[in-house]
Amino acid sequence: MLDQNNAGFENKLLAKIKDSKMSPKPRWRFLLTDSFVWFAGLIALLIGAAAISVMIYLFKFNDWEIYDQTKKSFLEFFILTLPYFWIVFLALFVFILSYYLKHTKKGYRYSEILIIGASIILSVILGTVLYATGCGEKLDNIIGSRTPYYDQVINRHVDMWSQPHEGRLSGLVVDKSSDEQFILVDRENQAWIVNTENSKLYGGAVVIIYQPIRLTGKETGEHTFRADRILPLNAGRGFFLRLNIPDSTQ
């Protein structure tokens, strides 16, 4: 019990509290801080999950079945087509999510490894759900249509499919003069005359004006290309749909 003979400290403290008109900070301030931590964590989770959904989308259309067309080994092809941008992006947001989880009221009770592991698992689960709802495709289209350096940094498939001298060409069909020839505009807005005399359609590809496609075949001259295979272009559609169509082809 309070010993009045030895209560100098308590009395001095209470006097200081009263003189300075101190009062406990309101509960809502702490709730607000806690809520902010959770909210920031949730945002990081959503962004990380969105990155996962785009990665799944890109992986789905990674052309595993035709990697030999690229004249690279499977390992080279795999390394070349890894979505590095999204991996770095995901790592950043997993780190941010882990940071906020660690700074929740009881976050300190869990080890770093557990928290990082949980952040990755949560991002993958939510990312898979987002992918299943079509979020990955939508995001890729939006980012492709608006982001600079998309073809070099974000989706390196575009770059891989823009090597006509190696037999790979992609772009937007802008004119179809006959069943055996059409005009395609590549990522640099260059128009190509594509000969499709001996070509085959794969993966449900259709040659329709203002639709992006990919071709394998051979560069036969200046801006002319003989197509062997015509393939649909899924990941990166947004990027090609933003191309300015040259007047000469319209």
Binding site: F9, P24, R109
Partner: protein
């Protein structure tokens, strides 16, 4: 209920959490919490720092002001003692630079039971004369890295459980256990070094 509605016996029976609730309604109730913890925390501050009585009292006052201002942040799922020790620990760390300049040496004497408990746990009992055991323990603790000293002080001198130490230092239980093992080893090594010097 107001604190004035309680008898002295009733107040003694109140839990810390109940006193927190009462302190939020009535400032005067806070003195009972202060009374419960000032002795323990004063010793803890002196064990962690080289503070003299005056400095320790200043730190203690800052601690209790912080506790009072943050009463609404007290999580009832946590032991109040863990929460107040955490605030004290953080306050000591934030004022560490100021205190570091002072001569080394702990101002608090260990009682025999605590000294023996630590000596027996670390298996150093019998290696040194009982009369100089306390002095040696203080000396060795002072030589240890703060992260090792913190866990040893909390476990053996403040008699906190591993879970409480985890809540005070805001570290996972596994990390506390691992720190404790390393701290015991470091303590023993340093203790033997010091012993050789005698």
């Amino acid at each position: 209920m107001n604190i004035l509605d309680y008898s002295i016996d009733d107040i003694e029976k109140l839990t810390d959490a109940e006193l927190v609730k009462l302190s939020l309604k009535n400032q005067d109730s806070f003195v009972y919490l202060v009374d419960r913890y000032k002795g323990k925390l004063s010793s803890y501050i002196k064990r962690l720092t080289n503070a003299n009585n005056e400095d320790a009292e200043d730190i203690l006052q800052e601690v209790f002001i912080k506790v009072y201002l943050n009463l609404n942040d007290f999580d009832k799922n946590l032991k109040f003692s863990s929460w107040i020790y955490r605030i004290t620990h953080n306050q000591v760390i934030s004022g560490h630079r100021k205190l570091k300049a002072r001569p080394e040496g702990y101002a608090v004497n260990l009682d025999d039971q605590l000294a023996n408990s630590l000596a027996s746990e670390i298996d150093i009992k019998g290696q040194v004369d009982h009369n100089i055991l306390q002095e040696q323990i203080n000396l060795v603790l002072n030589k240890l890295e703060p992260k090792y000293r913190d866990v040893l002080v909390l476990k053996f001198l403040e008699e906190q459980s591993y879970q409480e130490i985890s809540d005070i230092l805001k570290k996972p239980l596994g990390t506390v256990a691992s720190l404790m093992n390393k701290a015991k080893r470091e303590f023993k090594t340093e203790f033997e070094k010091q012993n050789l010097k005698i």
